[in-house]
Amino acid sequence: MNNSGSLLEDFSEALFNSLSGFIVRYKRAKAKVSKRDPEHDYDLIIHNSSKIFDEFGSYILVECKNWKDPVGYGEIAKFIHKLHSRKCRAGIIVATSGVVYKEFNPTLKRTFDQDGIAVIVIDKDDIIKILDRSINLSSLLRKKYEGIRFGLV
């Protein structure tokens, strides 16, 4: 598989593996409730042993969306369900066109307020800044985490 969607997963794997303490354990993995029925697809599962990101929890799920349009409520809700059911404290959506209501997404805010789950969104602008080294990846993740956790816009 070498379409642009899977390349975004490959990219995200390489990106998060560059962070000390982050190890991408699984890529394009499936969870099944029975032999036939898949429960979830996971684009990436990161094992997190980084001390500076211990508030993210031991496992972080990553959803990759290389779409022309921003990711909408339905997909965000599905991802939040995965995080909730797998008892994850943080998830990352790598979406080249971002998500709807990028600046202040009420669904993402409510997810933290009610369940303590932080969903961080990384879009194309963020990726470009990370790759041209004008912002540090760790700093960007922390900035976005603080934004979600404390409701900062």
Binding site: F11, L19, S20, G21, S50, R133, L137, S139
Partner: protein, 230 residues
Amino acid sequence: MNQEEFANFSSFLQDTASIINNPALRLKAYSEFSQVYDYLEAHQWTIEDLKERHSYHETAAFQNIAEGYYRLGFIEAVFYQYAKLIYELWFNKVIEFQNAHNQRIHKGTQVHQIAEIYSTQHKRIKAWDYYLAAFAEDVIDGRDYIESQAYRALRSQSLSKNNLVLYAESIGKLRGKAKYNPLQIVEVSKKNYLIPSYEDNESVDRLKLNKAQEVWEKLTDKEKEESQNE
């Protein structure tokens, strides 16, 4: 300690080779430190005393003492600590002078040397902030920061050129508010994520990030190809 005794001690401290080779002189360097420190702390100093110099200058009271102790640090680490205390005192005296006279004085030497001493003590988190402060001093005074020691020190710790250029641009905006104290500029810049903390900077593996960059380029090439085929 009076003025004459201070001048004699300052002169004595310039002869590093003799002090290194003579335990009695080393003992003198140790034992008179607190008197020298008190003397420097108690006096009111003029701008001529406070300005940094690029070569030995009799009136550079703080710099002569600090550099004397710094050179001795090569043989005994405690002298680095003495040098750091003098650089800090010098920095504080300059801040007091600036506030009192509404006049800026370059403080790059003090903060850079404090960073160097922290580095020798493996206190890299503290050193990081002082190198950033030294960089800020060079930018505020309109120096060619690409040629500065602080720029080289930060680049050698893998802080990217792009990040330093953006930091330099942001210092221009902060100049009016924090022109007197570069440590304030560092605090504001870290707070606003203009520059990474030491831990954030260390946490990213550049070679692995290069791998991500390669995949990203493949992805963008693929997208171009797909859009041409549509």
